[in-house]
């Protein structure tokens, strides 16, 4: 699936610059509260205290007002976040169609013998395929017969174990027409590494009798 997404987003709020307010700056616009005239007593002092308090309250109000007004006072900036085109595929590669009888046989033959099946061979193989109701059971037998053919092309175990990653990449491509994802690669590599009995033949047999191989 080819999916392109755009997210139009306008930043409508800008943080107020709090340090612009005299009250919070604390650098002399409003003297410190403590000491001085208050300690000396008298009405003048009280009056001065009240004025300073009023010034502080006023500054606080201005600051609050500033918080509310600043965003609306700034010009909106239209910021658009975009993404690049990305092709999104399911791991199994969007295989929705079941291979027909002829497709299954001819593709399996090509995968294992690296040559096209002849029309006569295709007809020969189609006969038993049509004559039994459990197709997977018959496919299983056909694959096992292919694997027992002297001309089948299968890597050696030595070659497989020399570079398991490469073997798996090639096997997935050959049979499933896709690369394995990281998890598949990791899991299958573990399976092969941990089981000395596993041969390329067994991997081929397993993958060719899997559900995914019946689809394209």
């Amino acid at each position: 699936m080819n999916m392109k997404s755009k997210f139009p987003f306008t930043c409508r709020y800008k943080s107020p610059v709090l340090t612009d307010t005299p009250f919070l700056r604390g650098n002399g616009a409003v003297p410190p509260f403590k000491g001085g005239a208050e300690e000396r007593g008298g009405g003048l002092i009280s009056s001065l205290r009240m004025r300073r308090l009023n010034t502080q309250v006023l500054a606080l109000l201005i600051a609050i007002l500033n918080l509310g007004l600043l965003p609306s006072c700034n010009k909106d900036k239209n910021i658009i976040y975009d993404v690049n085109d990305v092709n999104v595929n399911r791991p199994e590669g969007n295989k929705d169609y079941v291979k027909s009888l002829a497709e299954f046989i001819s593709i399996a033959y090509t995968d294992l013998f690296e040559t096209s099946i002849s029309q006569a061979q295709l007809q020969t193989l189609a006969v038993p395929y049509s004559g039994f109701g459990d197709l997977k059971l018959i496919e299983d037998m056909i694959i096992k017969n292919f694997l027992n053919d002297a001309n089948v092309i299968v890597p050696t175990s030595t070659a497989m174990r020399a570079n398991v990653d490469q073997f798996l990449m090639e096997t997935y491509q050959k049979f499933l027409n896709r690369n394995p994802n990281e998890f598949e690669l990791w899991h299958m590599k573990n399976v092969i590494d941990e089981n000395a009995e596993i041969t390329p033949e067994l991997v081929y047999y397993a993958i060719m009798t899997s559900n995914e191989y019946r689809y394209y």
């Binding site: 004559g131 018959i138 047999y205």
Partner: protein, 431 residues
């Protein structure tokens, strides 16, 4: 624990013990309610279009000497074209069961697939006859597998047909509540047990059990990662994984027996017709798997479209094969005296011939919906005490769509499906 509490819990536990078995085994709420008459049914479609004139009415002598009582000689003009095969056993089949001499294929086109489809679904196929499609109504196999509790696996249900064409489509329907999940194992022996079959399947790579286990593990991983999974029925029916090796070995053994020449003349008759080979292979299935429900057909008599005498000869062979099948059933442990066999043609043939004349001067016969092409017979054989013995019903009674209800009654699931079926069980044949 107080006495009242003890009684309460004990009662609940007892009730649970009775209820649980009816819920758990198959996922169904209740098990099939009907009792079985016997445990096995073999349904022999004596097909190809068989006219009652040549069978029940013996217009050209007794062409079914293994089924019907009587020694009427074959008409002299065709006698040299009809090879007698003798008796398979001491008894005629009609003696071990009930013979409906005037059965009917009452509705629908008198075509082979239409006839097969109707008799195997229990519903006359009037609207959607398409030989490229599976029937829309469930087949007897699906009813059997779905409504037998615990549900049975595919090894218990087989459809053995003597030709390809549309017949492979009859092992399950497109019905959304049934389908491939409940279908039968289909086999067309002449295709599989052949040179082509042997070349394709007969020489497989063998793996050890440990290797098989590893393959199973890897395949499971591949399948789990395949999000699409499989479309039900995309690969036909599915045998249980545990049964697959047994079925494959059965096929491989059959190849070996064929290669060894054991299939050339197994009945000592000097050769096997297509019908005979099909019945012979059905017997192999019976001997190997003792299925609870097996349907097998014959169709060689359809040569009648161009050769009446060959048709009469094919009738003799079909009769012999059916008697051989019955004898095999009686010689198979587990099925002997525990099997009911039902046999009937899918339809008859016309009263009026076509224009083709055979070497013996007889006109050939088609089947194009006239009254006579709807007249057939039905034979129900089985153990005494289960099937009424040596009974002949000569009046018009019974029709093709009664066979599925009869099988359902015999195997104990009729009550589950009676509302879906227009036909009725052939109660007159059952004790």
């Amino acid at each position: 624990m107080k006495r009242r509490g003890f009684i309460k819990k004990a009662t609940a536990a007892t009730a649970g013990a009775f209820i649980a078995p009816y819920i758990l085994p198959s996922g169904r709420l209740f098990a099939a309610t009907g009792a079985r008459v016997v445990d096995h049914v073999v349904f022999c479609l004596f097909a190809g279009g068989v006219r009652n004139l040549e069978t029940m009415h013996k217009a050209d002598g007794n062409l079914m000497p293994n089924t019907l009582l009587g020694n009427e000689s074959i008409s002299s003009d065709i006698a040299s074209g009809v090879q007698s095969l003798g008796q398979v056993g001491g008894q005629r089949l009609q003696e071990v069961g009930t013979l409906y001499k005037e059965f009917r294929f009452a509705e629908g086109p008198t075509g082979h697939f239409s006839g097969h489809s109707s008799v195997m679904t229990g519903v006359y196929n009037l609207a959607d006859i398409n030989i490229r499609q599976r029937p829309s109504a469930p087949t007897v196999f699906e009813y059997y597998r779905k409504h037998t509790s615990p549900e049975t696996n595919a090894l218990n249900a087989w459809w053995v047909s003597n030709s390809l064409g549309p017949y492979p489509a009859l092992n399950y329907s497109t019905h959304p509540s049934y389908g491939a999940l409940y279908g039968a194992n289909y086999i067309q022996p002449a295709s599989i047990i052949s040179q082509a079959g042997y070349e394709s399947l007969g020489n497989p790579k063998t793996f050890t059990q440990a290797q098989h286990d590893l393959v199973g593990e890897m395949r499971g991983f591949f399948d789990n990662n395949f999000g699409n999974q499989t479309i039900p029925g995309s690969a036909g029916i599915s045998n249980a994984q545990a049964d697959v090796p047994e079925v494959q070995q059965f096929l491989l053994d059959s190849f070996q027996e064929a290669v060894a020449g054991q299939y050339n003349n197994p009945w000592g008759l000097g050769g096997m017709s297509g019908d005979m080979f099909n019945i012979f292979f059905a017997e192999k299935v019976i001997q190997r798997f003792q299925p609870e429900l097996l349907v097998v057909n014959m169709q060689d008599v359809d040569v009648c479209h161009g050769n009446f005498t060959a048709y009469a000869n094919a009738l003799v062979r079909a009769d012999y094969a059916m008697a051989h099948l019955w004898q095999t059933i009686q010689n198979t442990p587990g099925m002997a005296n525990n099997t009911i066999m039902i046999a009937l043609p899918e339809h008859g043939r016309n009263l009026q011939p076509n224009t083709v004349i055979d070497p013996y001067g007889r006109y050939a016969l088609d089947h194009t919906n006239d009254e006579m092409s709807r007249e057939i017979f039905c034979l129900v054989t089985g153990p005494s005490g289960k099937v009424v013995q040596n009974q002949v019903i000569s009046q018009v009674q019974g029709q093709s769509i009664d066979v599925v209800p009869t099988i359902a009654k015999i195997l104990g699931f009729y009550d589950d499906i009676s509302s879906m079926l227009p036909g009725q069980p052939l109660n007159a044949a059952l004790v």
